[in-house]
Structure formats: C-alpha cells, structure tokens
Symmetry: C2
Subunit: 463 residues, 2 copies
Amino acid sequence: MVHTSGIGSHTAPVSDPLQGYLEANKQRFVRELVELCAIPSEASDPTALDAAATWCRDRLASAGCSARILRVVDAPALVVGETGSGKRTLVGVQHYDVQPAVPLALWQTPPYEPAVRDGAVYARGVDDNKGHLLLRIQAIEAHRAVFGELPIRIRFLIEGEEESGSSNLGRLLALHPGLTDGDGALKEGGAIDAAGRPQLSLGGKGILYCHFRVRTMSRDAHSGGATHYPNAAWRLAHALASLMDERGRVRIAGFYDDVRRPTDAERRMVAEAPFEPQAMKEILGIERFAFGRGDEDVRYAAVFEPTCNVCGIESGYNGPGSKTVIPCEATAKVDFRLVPDQDPMKIATLLRAHLDRSGFDDVVFSAEEGEHPYRGAADSPLVRAVKAVAEQEFGKPAVLVPNSGGTSPMWVVCNARKMPNVTLGMGHPGAGAHAPNEHILLENYWRALRATTKLYSLFATQA
Amino acid sequence: MVHTSGIGSHTAPVSDPLQGYLEANKQRFVRELVELCAIPSEASDPTALDAAATWCRDRLASAGCSARILRVVDAPALVVGETGSGKRTLVGVQHYDVQPAVPLALWQTPPYEPAVRDGAVYARGVDDNKGHLLLRIQAIEAHRAVFGELPIRIRFLIEGEEESGSSNLGRLLALHPGLTDGDGALKEGGAIDAAGRPQLSLGGKGILYCHFRVRTMSRDAHSGGATHYPNAAWRLAHALASLMDERGRVRIAGFYDDVRRPTDAERRMVAEAPFEPQAMKEILGIERFAFGRGDEDVRYAAVFEPTCNVCGIESGYNGPGSKTVIPCEATAKVDFRLVPDQDPMKIATLLRAHLDRSGFDDVVFSAEEGEHPYRGAADSPLVRAVKAVAEQEFGKPAVLVPNSGGTSPMWVVCNARKMPNVTLGMGHPGAGAHAPNEHILLENYWRALRATTKLYSLFATQA
C-alpha cells in the first residue's frame, strides 16, 4: 500500500486538457513509478534486470507502442519500443539498470521499498534513471489521450548496462542497423539547477576505465631487504605519479592531440550556465579547488578538459599497527574522462606507450570500459523545441551545457548521423543520484511530464 | 605427552662431562622448550605475555639466578635475571614475545602446540626467540653443574615488546640505570648459514615506522569532477614517489648526512660473508634485483645503506568491477631502515621538512616506531670469545656481519658504553622466523647450547 497523500496537485485551469488528464491519472502514474523502482535492477542481479526489462516492454505496449526485447549473449536486454509516424524521428536513449544501493545503512528508508513523502519519491534509481524513463512513456500515453496520435516517430532504446559502461550497446545496435536512424536523441536524465532553470545537456564526456596491476615478486618480503627487493607499491605509486603533473596536466604524450577546441558559442554557453564555486567547495568541505585552479578556470575545465583520476589503489599491509613488509603486488583503478574528439582505445594505446617509455613495462593494465565522448549541435530543431517546452513548463530560461562531466552512451547512438541530443529532465541539485536517499520531487516530475508530452508534437514541426 | 624420539644424541666421548650432562638432561630441556613455546605470547595477548614473563623469571631462578620483574604502566614486563661474579659482565638481551602466528591455515601443526619431529621443534617463536632465550638459561645451569660457579657476572634482560618495536625498553632501562652496565651484550637470535658456518651479527639497522594519511575532502566525489576536486590517492602517490628516485636513492634532504662510512675492515667482513644472489632471487621469484642494482652492489648495500620502503597503501574503491570515484582519503605505511649513525627522530624531522618543501603539507604522518641503529666493534674480547666457541662447536669458520638488515634494540642497551654485541645462535636459513612452520633443528640447538656454556667461562678471561 503506497501512501500517496504527498503527491500534490497543480492549480491548473480546467480548460487545460493535458493538466486534466494528469490530475486524473497522477495516483496511477506514481504507483507505476513505485512499482518500477521496487525492482532492484543492479548489475549483479540478472533476474531483477530481466524483470525491469520486461516491465518496461509491457509499459511501452500499454502506452500504445510496439515493443520488443533484443539480446546478445550474457548482456542485459535492450528494450525497443516504437510508436507514431511523421517526417521526424526522435530516439529516446534510456536505461533501466541502477547503481548499487550500498551502503544500505545510510538510507532513511530501504532503497527498493520506494517511499512517497512530502511531495518526493525516495528509491534507488528514481532519479537515475527510472523516473526519467517512465515519464517519457507516460507522456506518450498522455499525448495520445489528449492530443491524439503522435505526428512523429518515437523510438525508445532502453538499455540495462548504462551504469556499468554500456559495454554491449554498440554491439546490440550494430546487429539492428536501423535503430539509430533519427533526427535527434532525447538523452537520459536531466536536471533543474539551483535557480530552478532547466539545464539542457548536449552531450557527455567519454571514458576509459583501467585496472592496473604490478607484481614484482612471487611473495611479500621482509623489509630488511628493501635495498634490493622490488616493491610493487613503489612501482605503482611512481607509475601513477608519472601520469599527471601537479597542475593536473596529463603527461601521456599525445593525450591532448584530438581534443576539440571549444567554439566561441560553446564558451558562451558555459559562461552563461549556472556555476556556484562556493557551494561546490562547501559540499565537499574544501577551501580551494585542486591543482591551484581558480574558479573561472574550473568553470571551463569541467566542461572542456579531459581528466586522469585514481579511483582506488591498494597494496601490502593496511591493518592495525605496523608490519614491515615489501609488497609483491599492487593494484589500482584509474579513469580517464574524455572530451570530443578523443577515442578511448587510442588513449589506451598512448597510455601503454607512456608506461613503456617511462620504464614501467612491468605495470600492466586492462581497459575495462571505454566510451566515446559526444557533443551534439546546440543549433538544431530538437534543442530549440526542448528549450521552448522546458521554459514554458518550468517558467525559467533554460541553460545549455555543451557536455556534462559524466558519461553516457550517446556516441554509439548519435555519432554516425551527427544527431543532436539533449536532456529534458526533472532532477534537482540534491537528488542524490548514485548516493543514498536518492529521490525526485513530484512537482518537477509533473512539469517534466507536461513538457515532454508537448515536445512530442512540437518537435514534429519545429524549424 | 611430548614425543621425544627425534631429540637425537651426539656420539661424544664419555670423557666430555658437558656432553654427559646434556645427554642426561636433553629430554627435560626439550620439554622446557615445548612448555615455553606453548605460551601464545603475542602482543595482543597480555595474559600470555605475563605468563611467559613469569615462566622466564622462574626458569632463571631454577638455574640459580636472582630474578625479578620490572614494569612500567601498560607495557609488558621486563624480566631481569643475574648470576655469577667476576671482572666482566655479559648482558643477555632477549625477548619472550613472538610474532602473530597468522595465517594459521598455513601451519602443518598448530603454532602453540609445539611438535617435535625428525630432529626439529615446530612452534611459533621457537627460533625467534624462545629457543635462543632458553638455551642461554640452560647453559647457566649446565655451567654450574659441570664447571662450577660462573667466573663472570651475567645479566639477562628479557623484554616482551621486541616484535612491536621495543617501545618501552628504553624507559624501563632508564628507571634502573645500572642494568646496562657491562662489557658486552649477547644479542637475541643468531643463525648458521647455508654452508653451516656460524653467522655472528654485530648489530642491526634502526627503524622509523610511519603511518601516512591524506584527507582532501569531507567525502568521496564523482569522478566527473576530476578537473578540480582534490584526489587523496593522487596526493599520496605523488608524495610517496617524491621520497625516493628510481635508483632507490632517498630524496629527503639530509637523509644521508649521518650515515657512518664503513671501514675497510667492515667492507672486508661483508666481502667474506656468505652471499648467494641467485638463491635470493629464486626465493622471491625475481630475475634481477631492484633499482638496477648488480649483485656486488646489493651485497654491500644490504648492510651499509638505509632504505625507504612502502609497507602498504590504500585509498578509494578496490572492490570488483569499477567505480568512478575521487577518493577523499588515502593512507600508507612506510618504514625507513637506518644505519649508524642515523637517528630516527631526526629522520622524522627531515621527512616533515621534505614534504612541506615539496608542497605536500596536506600529507600528515605519525612516527609509530623508532629505534636507533647499532653496530658494535668486531675487534673485542666478546666477539673473539664467541668466534672461538662457535667455530669449535659448529666445526666451521665463523662469519662476521657488521649489522643485519633487520632491527633489534641494541642501541638502548649498548650505546652509552659503546659495548660490543654479537649473536651466538642456532637458527638456519629455512627456520621460518615470522612465518608459518617456524622451527629449529635440535642438532644446532645442542651445539649452540654447548658453545654458550663454554662462552661463559671463556669471556671471563678472553683478551
């Protein structure tokens, strides 16, 4: 039994038939959201991933879409749903998998027992990305009920591996070549900034995620032999230190060769986008940004610069007290966030060459995930249409962001046709995606649902 | 019930009264060794430490010593036993604490259920240092029974914190100033080399053991912010990399200032000491030594050079799969092995200055253990006496080592009077001190016991 007292209602004029439809169906729509979020579709749970895929397929069907499930061996299903017809095609790129909910102790209510309270819904995945996914399907239902059949073809591609690097999406799409044909892509997620302005992201950084390993001996040695036995922790610390200088500049030869220079228009976008350095510092309890960077520097770097980042490192004895040991093995995890037009596999090749040239041929790594960066055009009918409906529903000017700091698989969907892509979402700064107590605000949900419903008509004719 | 069939017997002439005494008492002596080794006197077990201290006090008393227990708050007891009289005093520096026995699964028989088989005794601590400690007490009993009262004063100092840095030994000795008066010190342990030659160590390296910690933010951040959020793993990797260059040379300014230049005699000792680079490489499965060092280079460096060594490092996410995170905290453990005349607290000061000067003032460390290095004179009556009895009993020329690569607390005992110190032991290359299946060979035990019994007389008159 879902407690729905906090679902909220707009005081909309009765003459707004879309609002009328939403009001009549709000409780059902929230129940659906609760149902979908109750499925613990983490990467480690294939049964739950299957259940979420089936749920999405069925919901697409009940909204009037033709819906099917595509598979390649060992990968979560790709759900494809299509409806409508017209000159234009909109491709909706979404995902039903979620980040692991751990640490569970930090959740106020269990992550897979969605809680509706105070106008918000709390659950793992409700912001990233099940709420966004669902409102786009509910918008189809609403459009058909209120405005009639869609004057546009809409194709949903709902994958189940986004949170672990979309490693099979390219393969799935390659097996079904027509799936990425379209005039623009509606990207997963999307958010409202602290000033209430809809933030429209036009792409994401790419990523290369590597596991590093050094093994110097067959077993640990007594540190009395440190004059001559090779220490794996030292080797790895030196190798990692060699990758980036103290100003944050990556030292791998060729690393910056393919970085696309931002246009003046893109720099203007960033200048106009919200940026709150003091709030950013306070959230993480820091007095200044890393690498001696000033605030203005950070504003542009966050969008336009690639990075090298150690996610983890481990070697030797780390328990209580002391142990005098020369570790025989050391491991690390490193991610590189890439900007257009860097290629993750090319970066992996440059990294190998850097290590070999720097005397670290004993440091091995495996490239565990690779995704290309993607940044679509801002000057396109899709972005104009999204801007119009978002500003209308949220009542504030939209802000465009050339690409976010995070990664999503837009390159495999958009790059062949250089399609524009954009978010139209309802997340808010404290939504807690990937963190405990992830939640969405229902007020934003209804606004994004209205905006999306209108987008489906507007994009059909937008110049 | 101890199985004693493997205790072994010498085919000594009946006219050797010492041998006669040993033959008559071997089974009891082994039972005593088994009894002492059955006490699990690890640092984490204060009750067992107390039991071992009491056992040692009682055994000293039954060998004819005056014996007492000294304490400072919270530290394991120091057992002091004295006997004999004469112009010279020999100080025996021993310890009854043992290394943790974990991992238990690798032991063929339980570490604290001593097993006598095939002429060996298996137990945690039997080599390091309970066997060595006990045979020195049994040698007093044997001397008094066979040769009469000791023509020398002997003072045992048996501590219970050697395996965790002897952190209170200096304080205990300072409270009882006369305890370190003497003409030479018999050091814990000692071993026979692979060629069967007694190895006589004249000292040990010192140590500074530090815990490092960097905290850059109040919590981990999403790696999308790696352009500007400070990564603790990076900071620590860079700081550690700054400590030593790729040739193994420590980069801390002033680090080598106090290193005592080895004398020609000391270099000759090292040249003559056993050194088996190929065997050393094979044991650890390496093809070559670290830092590009050649074999001859290693021979001298192992004795005469100080080191900087990372014992452990940990930061961020190291679980299965990948997580894109900027770690807010990183920790490491680092040991410095020091040679005469380096001072651990001075090294700690230089380390702090190095980090501050190198821009790592955010990297904090605490000095957890500090012991001075100590190297005594080779040209001394004690060393000559030990050499004579060792060569007589083991039938091979002795080899002198200016200092071992490991650390023992000889500085606090010997430095004020610059006393010589030396080992006269029975360990062998495969004894497994600090490792599973630690054991001693009884044949070596009886030889060392005879040699020690004779030493007590010889040192009284040795020129």
